[in-house]
Amino acid sequence: MAREVAHRVFAAEFNQANLQVTEGGERAPSFVVTPLGARVNRLLVMGVLTSLEKTGKEGDMWKARISDPTGQFTLYAGQYQPEAAKALGELRPPALVAVVGKSRTYNPEPGVVLVSIRPERIATVSREERDHWTVDAGKHTLRRLECTAAALDMAEPTPDALVQMGYPRDMAEGVIQAIQHYGKPELAAYRAMVRDALEAVVTGRAPDRPPALPPPARGAVTTIRAPAPTAPGVAPAAPGEDPEAAEDAKLQAEERVAGLVRTLDDGKGAPWEGIVADAAKTGLSESDVEEAINRLLDKGIVYEPVLGRLKPT
């Protein structure tokens, strides 16, 4: 099973995204699709760590902002991302960093969509390495721009037609999904964004104005569940096989269950049945909950003071 590729996307393009696509079953990988058609499950970004704060109800979550020449990425790292959280704890802004992470979307209130990164690895980098990333992100963005322009030139654009022109399958599918969801993107504005970013590498100074992209799209995250595309002659991949997606789903279940343990704890601990009942409302089965609790117990995030009751540590 192929590992999800880490996309190189500028902050301004990533932050515009409000389309989430899941192809296949419950535990299939999900992607945030950007207006230029990057299907981002994982991404690699490099830039300046500009702010770092503790957040969350318990103050156990790091919130960080990373600036690239076009805008800012938002990162959240908690106890479920121990390596990244540890690395953040040792950093003082400003610092040049590289972040490998997974894309996330949030609906903090109706009508507002925020995309963020859940980091897997964080490392400090040199100015040259950061510049190398910026150029790389520029190249990938230009290629998506080119693919989008090619699609817009077609009377009836399809992924197959773009693949025939030599674009990778994943990019072709993403570009078509993006056009269907966002409509025709402002190609000139995105081209200007890339130009500003590349000029920043040449001059060594950040652009003096933010990219003139249309304001971030408002509205709920649109989630599409589409059947996974299959190639002829190849047995269709069964949904739920992707180990990364399965791990993602497990982490999400853990986060939800840990939250329930905290809210249901009346001092004597949260009752097991109460957790199962409330978790069922969010679509978790009893066995999902059981597995999540076992993993939380293993990680020392919750403990069982008496049989059948759980408390946060």
Binding site: A2, V5, A98, V202, A235
Partner: protein
């Protein structure tokens, strides 16, 4: 009509009725219709209709030359040229499918059998209710749930088989399982080997071919008098896949023609590996001596100082070998990492010498450091520090298996990115033009 000839039709009817009536009953009923002089196709349709079922579209007998991707159900007589099992995972279940070539006097085509029909190489069979799809521009026969297969009355000999259209390809485009392909390449290396085939020794020739796009290993099953350094045009060869790496096979129907030596660049230029996007490598499934550039995203557990089983070289877990139990391990130094270039990702393995070069330390020095720190983890930590988020260039053989794509590096260098400014300027130049 003989009972044996009737069997596949009885099967069609029974399947269409999903076991609503017994096979013997169907057989008797069908025989009765035929005795009354009802044409077979009509009899089948009416029996199924009487029991409230629906018969799949009537199969049509064809020659392979005439089948195309639109054929939902075809019958033909063909010789099974090759049979290869393949493990696939479908809906979470491991199962075995079979693929290979089959042919009649008009054409040879690739096929996939989605269940075990006990196909035998060299057997001539009557196939009913196969369907045809298109795969990489070529018709592909599928033997699915509805298909039935019977031994044919008359055998087709290998000589009687029709041609298969060979596609002209560059070496970089090769992947496993191409039934017929023509390439033009320079022979970098050739050597004769002996293998055991059915208990008898058999000579074969193997080596490396190169063209300006890449390299490929080849295996010749007879003496084509291939000489090192010659430029050859290899017509009608086929490829097999060894862990995702293509292997070009020269068999009975292959023709090798020697071209003038200046038809391709000299060996020194062909040996320069071509930089390949990882996404393209993922689609190919592997390749010999490929050059990749990407960013190291992760240094995996099990990197640094490790212990291997002296018997089988497997990496020990808690000084135990998966196969040989508790053993005294031999020390080794390696890196297992993820390399990603934004188009794809793969696992790379760096062997001892490469890691020593990267660290600027010998394995013995690493062992000293580990002893001082009282933990081998210091080396892994140093590798994480040195490699994660760094751009790297690797060369090596890429293969794929159940764990995905991987490459064993013959060379690995951390790149010192200095030309970013020039590259940015160059890109800006192209942006102004467009």
């Amino acid at each position: 009509m003989l009972q044996q000839e009737l069997a596949p039709h009885v099967g069609d009817i029974t399947r269409a009725l999903q076991g609503k009536i017994q096979q013997e009953q169907v057989e008797a009923e069908l025989q009765r219709y035929l005795d009354f002089g009802v044409p077979l196709a009509q009899a089948k349709r009416d029996i199924v209709r009487n029991y409230g079922g629906k018969l799949a579209p009537a199969s049509v007998a064809k020659k392979l030359r005439d089948v195309g991707p639109h054929d939902g159900s075809v019958d033909f007589v063909a010789r099974i040229v090759t049979v290869n099992p393949k493990q696939v995972t479908a809906r979470g279940e491991q199962r075995t499918i079979y693929f290979g070539l089959l042919g009649d006097e008009t054409r040879v085509l690739p096929y996939t059998a989605w269940r075990d029909f006990q196909l035998q190489k060299g057997q001539t069979v009557t196939v009913r209710s196969a369907y045809v799809t298109e795969w990489r521009g070529e018709a592909q026969v599928n033997l699915g749930e509805r298909a039935s297969i019977q031994p044919a009355e008359q055998d087709l000999t290998p000589d009687a088989l029709g041609p298969r259209a060979a596609q002209e390809k560059h070496l970089a485009e090769l992947r496993g399982g191409i039934p017929a392909v023509t390439v033009t390449a320079r022979v970098l290396k050739v050597q004769q080997r002996e293998v055991q085939v059915d208990g008898k020794p058999k000579a074969l020739w193997s080596g490396d071919l190169a063209d300006p796009t890449g390299k490929v290993r080849f295996t010749a099953w007879k003496d084509f008098k291939i000489e090192e350094d010659a430029v050859v045009r290899v017509q009608n060869a086929y490829t097999r896949s060894w862990r995702g790496m293509p292997d070009l096979n020269l068999g009975d129907s292959t023709v090798v023609e020697v071209l003038s030596s200046d038809a391709l660049p000299p060996r020194s230029q062909l040996q320069v590996a071509r930089l390949l996007p990882i996404g393209e490598l993922e689609e190919l499934g592997g390749g010999a001596d490929v050059l990749l550039e990407g960013t190291v995203l992760e240094v995996k557990k099990g990197s640094g100082l490790i212990f291997r089983c002296p018997e089988c070289k497997r990496v020990l877990q808690k000084s135990e070998c998966r196969l040989h139990g508790k053993v005294k391990g031999t020390t080794d130094l390696r890196v297992k990492a993820v390399l990603d270039d934004g188009t794809g990702a793969l696992t790379i393995f760096l062997p001892r010498e490469t890691v020593e070069n990267l660290l600027g330390k010998s394995m013995e020095q690493c062992q000293e450091m580990a002893k001082e720190a009282m933990s081998p983890d210091v080396i892994e930590e140093e590798l994480v520090q040195r490699l994660v988020a760094r751009p790297m260039r690797v060369t090596g053989n890429a293969t794929s298996d159940d764990f995905g794509l991987m490459l064993i590096a013959s060379r690995a260098d951390v790149l010192q990115p200095q030309g970013s400014r020039q590259q940015a300027e160059q890109l800006l130049g192209t942006l102004e033009v467009s």
